[in-house]
Symmetry: C2
């Protein structure tokens, strides 16, 4: 997606520790008009699939998934929670995720009533690196017997293993930009 | 907002500990079409104010703020973060918030570069109860010298002090539904 690559180059910053900061438009300040273009692009890519629900994970995935859902006939969005809350009760699907950013494990949770075995689910997230959060989300969908129709990622770090692992599992992963290498002076995208 | 009251009555559940569960449409599963109506309603209510930015807090506020922003000419959304992240650096505004749901304090953080002194900000959140998170967000805006044009709340618990406190501070608070009392059998809305 050309617009995304331009935004990464113009507004992104590569920081020590393999961090690509895109907080100006994707995960702290949100560029709503840009997210609408992301929604149109995911709809174009997944136009051959009959998707009835979007699953994402708090917090950064929520804005993207909510805007994207509008281009899929306003289908519902479910977001997995990372923290235990008094607001969560009833039967829950859970999965343990190793966090790259926070250097510790956490549990993701989705109420069972929100995933049904006939669901055809598009999973959306901002980044795919090692793919640990994504594997947790897929685990949760598998527990519910629903189907993962595809995974839509805004930025994939192609030099980490998440994308390869998921594709080897037979998951359809569509990333709007794949970064094959980056340093403070240069970001190299996959063609 | 009549549609909201109907959804609270039809889909909400009152749980022990003063919990109103609206996870079917507002903060776990997201009803996108309903959030669009929320966006139209906030635009109608705040049509007399020239707002250029929306501020909210992760996680439940993000979907609402993102959809609402579309009805304010796609102005940017900034969401305050609750956790320390490697992705946050540079100069930060912070404020300490007492959490009602989680029974502990936490720090909210916004990068200084995303709040400017000329900003006229609408703060959006799903719930207003004691108003602690909202007071933290207002504190952050005040630190930046920006202006709080108003606070837009989906559901206010009118029997708790948040709404009263904020209005006494001179803040314009607009809630789409105010609950004056609730128990397992009944939810009483303010007229």
């Amino acid at each position: 997606m050309q617009l995304l690559k331009e935004k990464i180059i113009n507004e992104g910053k590569v920081k020590e520790g393999n961090i690509l900061k895109v907080d100006n438009f994707l995960n702290h300040r949100l560029d709503i008009q840009f997210l609408q273009e992301v929604g149109k692009e995911f709809k174009r890519i997944f136009s051959d699939v009959n998707i009835n629900k979007i699953l994402t994970i708090e917090a950064s995935g929520i804005a993207i998934a909510s805007i994207v859902a509008q281009y899929f006939d306003n289908i519902p969005v479910v977001f997995a929670k990372k923290a235990k809350s008094q607001n969560l009760d009833g039967d829950l699907y859970t999965s343990t995720v190793k966090s790259y950013t926070y250097s510790k494990n956490y549990t993701i949770t989705v109420a069972q009533k929100f995933l049904k075995k006939n669901d055809n689910i598009l999973i959306i997230d901002d980044f795919l690196a090692e793919g640990n959060a994504m594997k947790g989300l897929i685990d949760v969908v598998n527990q519910s017997k629903a189907n993962v129709a595809g995974v839509g990622i805004v930025i994939e770090k192609g030099y980490q293993n998440g994308g390869k692992d998921l594709r080897n599992m037979g998951i359809r992963v569509e990333s709007l930009a794949i970064i094959d290498d980056m340093n403070e002076n240069e970001i190299i995208f996959r063609k």
